[in-house]
């Protein structure tokens, strides 16, 4: 009985790593750039399809495919911000939401048109099937462990990037006061574009892991977005380590709920989110 619970809780923590990966890009765009990207989940799904093409049509190994995708994702994010999203930055917040909502619809229908509605998955071959035995009947999938480690690593790297590098300081400066940045010759347009490029690198990384972890179809974006939102709100908007905490809380809640009744798995996550929102609306590790 204890082993069952221990397994389930470990699963929950590992799942929290995956959820952190979903959320980290949204944490950057919403928390740091103050930009609510409704299409965040759809961009993750779009990246999953890009990986699907790279692994099936070109026969690449998923790890190689993801590494190829990342620089492309950076350029895509940079260009998207520079030439499209920048037009609505600083205007009415509603415009940002409407524009990214439109992007969400375009991506979902574009994917449906191009790939059909069937669920897809990328094979992680041995990475997926290998398990690590921790003794006493406790086993964890190797891929789950890799995902969790990647999530912690990504949070750590981004935190160092934002707080220890010159570009990171510029991004935080623009986040503090866009007009002041422009007044002293820090081009906010350029910095926003770089930040969005980095956000899209995290989207590419998230896609690399989730495309092996579970199925995806053109309509799975909004679910990813919902999870990402719950994670960053629970963690505290703009706090990267908070996103990790939020991800783990959500993963654990789902694992525990699922242990009582599988039908309660998803609902338990939402309930814990609502409880955190009610008790601690500023999140677990508030930044502002």
């Amino acid at each position: 009985m204890t082993a069952v619970w221990a397994n389930q809780l470990l699963q929950g923590i590992m799942l929290g790593g995956l959820y952190t990966l979903f959320a980290i890009g949204l944490s950057l765009s919403a928390g740091v750039m103050r930009f609510v990207n409704i299409a965040h989940g759809d961009f993750i799904v779009l990246a999953c399809y890009a990986l699907l093409v790279l692994t099936t049509a070109l026969g690449l190994n998923p790890v190689v495919a993801t590494l190829i995708l990342l620089p492309v994702a950076f350029l895509f994010g940079f260009a998207l911000q520079r030439f499209l999203l920048q037009r609505v930055v600083g205007e009415n917040v509603l415009l940002v939401i409407l524009m990214t909502f439109a992007l969400s619809i375009i991506i979902e229908n574009g994917l449906l048109e191009g790939f059909g509605a069937d669920p897809q998955k990328i094979s992680g071959s041995w990475m997926e099937t290998a398990t690590v035995a921790l003794g006493n009947g406790i086993n964890v999938g190797l891929f789950q462990i890799i995902t969790f480690v990647a999530a912690v690593g990504l949070v750590a790297v981004l935190d160092l990037f934002l707080y220890r590098t010159g570009i990171g300081a510029k991004i935080r400066a623009v986040s503090d006061d866009v007009a002041a940045a422009d007044l002293i010759g820090l081009s906010s347009v350029q910095i926003y574009a770089v930040a969005m490029g980095i956000t899209f690198v995290t989207i590419g990384i998230a896609a690399g892991f989730v495309s092996i972890w579970t199925n995806f179809d053109p309509a799975s974006g909004p679910t990813r977005l919902l999870i990402a939102f719950e994670v960053i709100v629970m963690g505290g908007l703009g706090s990267l380590w908070g996103s990790l905490a939020g991800g783990i809380v959500l993963g654990l809640a789902q694992a525990i709920g699922g242990q009582f009744d599988i039908a309660w798995q998803i609902m338990a996550g939402h309930i814990v989110f609502l409880v955190v929102l009610a008790v601690r609306p500023q999140g677990l590790f508030p930044k502002y």
Binding site: A169, R172, A173, D176, A179, A180, L183, I184, G185, L186
Partner: protein, 238 residues
């Protein structure tokens, strides 16, 4: 290109600046030479800050010509104007409150023209900032924040320094301290534009002054050569 008497460091010629249809600056001519302190005085809404915005490339619509070191800079990006050696100390300081003192200062170095003013100079001018370099800028007192804003601008190694109301909201003692530094900045050959509502203060350090009234230059000259009464008359337009 060295600025000579014939071509000053900054030459604002027949410049008008508009907010939509409203002409906030109306056909203004202003010149600043290397190592010269020029004071621009005027009441609230006279167009002083707008003029600085136009020089730094942050005004929406500018007519006329603004040349810096011989190049017309109207229409150029703020980024490129700053990199060529013009730096603004904005009204209200406009630091980035969540960044540390050191990070705020470093931004000045990053955006600016690389030159011989470095962190050591800023620490020498403002020892208190070195002590507090790891503190968030938002936690400093108003005077210390103004020191960071000035330090940030100096680290950009400007040839022309634009100071917008640096005395605003500060205690007289702190203002004295800041103004005491201005001759030293001038000695480095930096041209300085002081925009102030505090006439007395800025006229005591200035080599020349311009008084703006409703967007126009109402009076110009050297502080010693005009009476305070005349300045007041053109300041208020009565």
């Amino acid at each position: 290109m060295a600025a000579t008497a014939a071509s000053p460091l900054l030459a604002v010629e027949s410049v008008s600046v508009f907010y939509d249809k409203f002409r906030a600056v109306d056909n203004v001519d202003i010149a600043v030479a290397t190592g010269e302190i020029v004071s621009i005085i005027g009441a609230n809404g006279a167009g002083k800050s707008t003029l600085l915005k136009a020089i730094i490339g942050q005004a929406d619509r500018v007519e006329g010509s603004i040349s810096f070191a011989g190049d017309n800079i109207v229409g150029r990006s703020t980024e490129s104007i700053v990199a060529s050696g013009v730096m603004l100390v904005p009204e209200g300081r406009r630091l980035f409150p969540s960044l540390t003192v050191e990070e705020n200062l470093r931004l000045g170095w990053d955006v600016g023209r690389k030159g011989d003013i470095g962190f050591a100079d800023v620490w020498r001018l403002f020892p208190v900032l070195q002590e507090r370099r790891r503190q968030k800028a938002g936690s400093l007192s108003g005077g210390q924040q103004q020191m960071v804003a000035l330090g940030r601008a100096l680290l950009a190694n400007p040839r022309l320094l634009l100071c917008d109301e640096i005395s605003l909201g500060l205690a007289p003692l702190v203002i004295n301290e800041l103004y005491a530094l201005i001759p030293g900045i001038k000695q480095r050959g930096i041209g300085i534009v002081l925009v102030e509502q505090d006439i007395e203060r800025s006229l005591t350090v200035a080599d020349r002054f311009y008084c703006l009234l409703e967007g126009k230059v109402s009076l110009a000259g050297r502080p010693g050569e005009v009476s305070r009464d005349l300045v007041m008359k053109h300041y208020f337009g009565v």
